[in-house]
């Protein structure tokens, strides 16, 4: 069902948690649909210095959250915004068709966190 890469990120999720006084925070999903993702960021000189996630969801949801944090870590804001649902799924060597929507959440949560950061910057 799941690739080895998915199972690796599921069993050893990277960057679990919540950054206090985050520079940006984003939450997407809805608990009644079975999935929520929350991403918090620390940004320095336009570079994502730290990123953490919290997820309520299936194996794919946990793995995509973990993967998206790994992909975004150390990237510039512009580079991080290039991360798509598709690239997350590909980095995990694929997801079962029924689970593709979980990868949407991960990229969406990252985007939401970055937008929150940019909004705060402009405020």
């Amino acid at each position: 069902m799941y690739t080895e890469k998915v199972m690796d990120h599921f069993s050893n999720p990277r960057n679990v948690g919540e950054i206090e006084n985050a520079d940006g925070a984003g939450q997407v999903g809805n608990p009644s649909c079975g999935d929520i993702m929350k991403i918090t960021l620390k940004v320095e000189d336009n570079i994502i210095k730290d990123i953490k996630f919290k997820t309520f969801g299936c194996g794919a949801a946990v793995a995509t959250s973990s993967m998206v944090t790994e992909m975004a870590m150390g990237k510039t804001i512009e580079e991080a915004l290039q991360i798509t649902n598709k690239s997350v799924a590909e980095a995990l060597e694929g997801l079962p068709p029924a689970k593709m929507h979980c990868s949407n959440l991960a990229a969406d949560a990252l985007k939401a966190a970055i937008e929150d950061y940019l909004k705060k910057q402009n405020a």
Partner: protein, 387 residues
């Protein structure tokens, strides 16, 4: 790693004694029961012996009341749709419950599309419907009541005897899906007062791909598949002889062991319920606290999602199941969990642990040791969790 199988409501291993009988009819005796020659007669004899074993186990008065099917699902289709089509002149109303397996509910949905009217009785917080609810739902158009004996997801046992009395008083045909109860609690068609009863081999240490329908003599019914005259014209297609032999043996063994297994497993069950509720905060027991299958334990853990829990337990060698939407790839969690009043969010965190005859005290210990850190870890990851 220790391997603990706790998913007996999904399917059971085949008992070695059942496998042994079955394998004879795969490797040695291969005749077609419809053949007149000695190869065929031998197969016919084996099929009729198994029919007797099933009839005896559920207290049917004659082997003519048992038809073999390819699954519990096919048996439910035959029972429900076979009665509905045959009694269409009499009425078009069917009563069932929100607790039913999709095998029953999907048949009812199809019948609705075909012009029947279906009343789906709501459940109380324990997953029960009452005979009173059934009595109140009956109209002069009611031709069938279909209420399951024991629920697969929350283990609750329905008051079938009382519902059977209501059915009889009102002269309405009554079917019970006994897939989860056979072999675990007493099942007797006369005591339960049912006209039809369906069961499945792979839930009672028999193989997958075999089931049976009991149909009381005189019940107005018609077949739903068409072909040769097998199974007394009730179910066409060459008989799954090895599967039938296995079902006969399996139901006989399950009935013999039932009392002792139920004693032992309900002890484990009560310990599991007590200790899990004590050890893990924000946990809800689902189903009835006492009136439940002896091997069945089910919870919802707040703030976590079932598939993740299931996968983490699997990595520890433990097989359980969950009614979470994510395990099935659908967007909706189990209809039974929402029908007993749980929010979708809570229903997502459901766990079902169903024990079997090979489980031991050590399996229980191991589970009680492994579960709390898994829940803790998932809660630590969850944005919903307070902690």
């Amino acid at each position: 790693m220790r391997k603990v199988y706790f998913d007996h409501s999904a399917t059971t291993p085949v008992d070695p004694a059942v496998a042994e009988e079955m394998i004879k009819y795969i490797t040695e005796h291969f005749g077609n029961p419809s053949s007149i020659h000695s190869w065929g007669r031998e197969a016919r004899k084996a099929v009729e012996k198994a029919r007797q074993q099933v009839a005896t186990a559920i207290g049917a008065s004659s082997i003519g009341e048992i038809a073999f099917t390819s699954s519990g699902t096919e048996a439910a289709n035959m029972a429900i749709r076979g009665v509905a089509y045959a009694n269409r002149q009499k009425g078009n109303h069917i009563i069932t419950s929100a607790a039913e397996h999709s095998a029953v509910l999907a048949c009812c949905k199809q019948l609705e599309r075909e012009g029947f009217t279906v009343t789906v009785l709501p459940l109380d917080q324990y997953g029960l419907v009452t005979a009173q609810q059934v009595a109140e739902a009956i109209t002069d158009k009611t031709i069938l009541i279909s209420i399951m004996h024991a629920n697969n997801e929350i283990g609750t046992i329905m008051p079938i005897k009382e519902i059977g009395e209501v059915a009889r008083e009102n002269k309405v045909i009554f079917h019970t899906d006994a897939v989860q109860s056979v072999g675990k609690i007493p099942v007797n068609v006369d005591e339960l007062g049912v006209n039809l009863l369906t069961l499945s081999g792979h839930k009672i240490y028999g193989p997958k791909g075999i089931g049976a329908m009991y149909i009381r003599k005189g019940t107005f019914w018609q077949p739903i598949t068409f072909g040769g005259g097998q199974e007394r014209r009730r179910r066409p297609g060459t008989e799954n002889v090895a599967g039938i032999v296995a079902l006969g043996k399996a139901i006989e063994m399950a009935t013999e062991r039932m009392y002792n297994d139920a004693q032992r497993l309900s002890g484990y069950r009560d310990r599991l319920i007590k200790e899990v509720l004590e050890k893990i905060p924000n946990t809800i027991l689902t189903g009835h606290p006492q009136n439940r299958l002896p091997n069945h334990v089910s919870f919802c853990f707040r703030f976590i999602e079932g598939e993740s829990m299931l996968l983490m337990l699997d990595m520890k060698g433990i097989a359980i199941s969950s009614g979470s939407a994510c395990t099935s790839g659908s967007l909706e969690p189990s209809h039974v969990l929402t029908a007993i009043g749980l929010s979708k969010e809570v229903a997502h965190g459901s766990l079902r642990l169903t024990m079997g005859k090979y489980n031991t005290e050590e399996d229980i210990e191991y589970f009680l040791e492994v579960l709390p850190p898994v829940i803790e870890r998932l809660r630590a990851m969850s944005p919903l969790s307070e902690g």
